[in-house]
Amino acid sequence: MIKKIKQGAFYGSIGLLAFLVMISLLSIMGYILFNGVGHINLEFLTKEPRSMGREGGIFSVIIGTLILTLFSVLIATPIGVAAAIFFTEYSAGKKWVGPIRFFTEILAGIPSIIFGLFGFAFFVIFLGLGWSILSGGLTLAIMILPTLIRATEESLKTVPMSYREGSLSLGATKLQTITRVIIPSCLPGILTGIILGVGRAIGETAAVMLTAGSNLRMPTSLLDSTRTMSVHLYTLASEGISLEKTFATASLLIIIVLIINTAANAITSKYIIKS
């Protein structure tokens, strides 16, 4: 009898706690989408912001976000993929791999405000790039590097040894094996990494604010300061500029996150689980 009560209390309490987790997710997303989706319209997406974002749309902010994200992903992807190839294909027998791997793990754990401080001291001041897409993009590229390395490495690990052996026994060199056999068979994994990196770059605020600034005007060069959607959301929320636009911006961010997660999951379940 006592055992039954104990069991009931145990399952009841962990069930309740897990239920609370679901409720938190649903209430955060539901509340913001419910209040914000109605304010996302053609004008909001295609018009420039007026009077600090109180009126008009967020077109220049969307473009700023796109350019900054694209720039950081373009830089981080080749480096991340190459680093992952090194860890899985070239690292055997090299003693100094341990520390390199350790520092890659460390990089993943550094908080974004530290990246912001570093980007400010190094790119903005030391290299003299100022608050710009260049400074922000390079800072973000370093930030998303661990995500890319990890995702690529996971998918490189799923490529069967027999592929490598088959290719090498046909007379292909190691590099040919990597570029013609291994990379094509793990493209979905690399793509997942890129998508997750994009998600991280779009959602990042603290690091971007200190390195790319928060200029609302449409950027015309890589040396211009720009404002991303996350930074815009922070400015709107902290200065109480317009509740309507704040909800709309937050909703747009959540919708992008939903699309990104769905895409990453779809790729994972379609290609990676099957292989």
């Binding site: 145990f10 069930g15 897990a18 987790v21 974004s112 590099l175 937050a250």
Partner: protein, 295 residues
């Protein structure tokens, strides 16, 4: 091997080392910018000084440390039971399909930008604490007051934000417990609950501890959510409904308008933050490696 293959191989090695170079550069530039004031002002005065008012030249960060610690502690008190319960449910109780839905919900939590959490806290939690929680607290402590911008609000939001870290790492370590452990426990007549509490959780202990430490690191390093909801008052808090300023929040808030010395002081705050996070990461890595050794 052809010459260009050797060149490509070298390039690949260079790419692999970029992470390491970045960590070194980050360390160098944070320290370079913050150390001078840390030395001039005195490390002890800086860390244990109770007055943070940069405009008057007072750079004591004890209130900021207290703010960060109190919000983090609150987040762990709320988030750890939720996270471990979710990990148990995911790996031991829910059938495959339902578990996948639950897991993707938790991944979604990880994808939401921190500033969105902050906005939700600002618009929902802060007013809710002011209008619903405060009257309840006043029944016990009649003199209690709060604006709603508080440790409590920050702790709730951070608890939700660190869930994905705690759940995914705990779940992995629970799944890594060998099947024989479960079978042996059940064969000895233990029921499922006893197996979970007495066998599986102790066996997965080091992974669960690592997940809590990494979650703690995330909570300490989080910036945009806490900045919007903890009130940014640099004073040592007296209770969970008080406003606090955190290490991260202060850097992000004040960097925009700080003069040269003030900026240096913010970099020095960054040094302290950096060292706390490095320490936690090192502990977590040791704990996780201990797990691999056990299995």
């Amino acid at each position: 091997m052809k010459a260009y293959e050797k060149i490509v191989e070298k390039l690949i090695i260079v790419c692999a080392i970029i992470s390491t170079i970045s960590v070194v550069l980050i360390t160098v530039f944070i320290f370079r910018s913050g150390l001078p004031i840390l030395m001039n002002y005195g490390v002890i005065d800086f860390i244990f000084g109770t007055n943070w008012s940069p405009t008057n030249g007072n750079y004591g960060i004890l209130p900021l440390i207290a703010g960060t610690l109190s919000v983090t502690l609150g987040a762990l008190i709320i988030g750890v039971p939720m996270g471990i319960a979710s990990a148990i449910i995911l790996s031991e109780i829910l059938p495959g399909k339902v578990a996948r839905v639950f897991k993707s919900a938790i991944e979604l939590l990880a994808g939401i930008p921190s500033v969105v959490y902050g906005f939700f806290g600002l618009i929902v939690l802060v007013p809710a604490i002011r209008t619903f929680i405060l009257p309840i607290v006043q029944l016990v402590v009649p003199k209690a007051t709060t604006t709603g911008f508080s440790i409590f609000a920050g702790a709730i939001i951070l608890a939700i934000m660190i869930l994905p870290t705690i759940v995914s790492i705990s779940e992995n370590s629970i799944k890594a417990v060998p099947r024989e452990f479960r079978e042996a426990s059940l064969a000895l007549g233990a029921n499922k609950m006893e197996t979970i509490v007495r066998v599986i959780i102790p066996a997965a202990k080091s992974g669960i501890i690592a997940s809590i430490i990494l979650g703690m690191g995330r909570a300490i390093g989080e910036t945009m959510a806490v900045i919007l909801i903890t009130g940014n008052m640099p004073k040592i808090p007296g209770g969970p409904l008080d406003s606090v300023a955190t290490l991260t929040g202060t850097i992000a808030m004040e960097m925009g308008y700080a003069d040269a010395t003030h900026q240096q002081a913010l970099f020095a705050v960054g040094i302290i933050l950096f060292m706390i996070i490095m320490l936690l990461n090192a502990i977590a890595q040791i704990s996780a490696h201990g797990l691999r050794g056990n299995n």
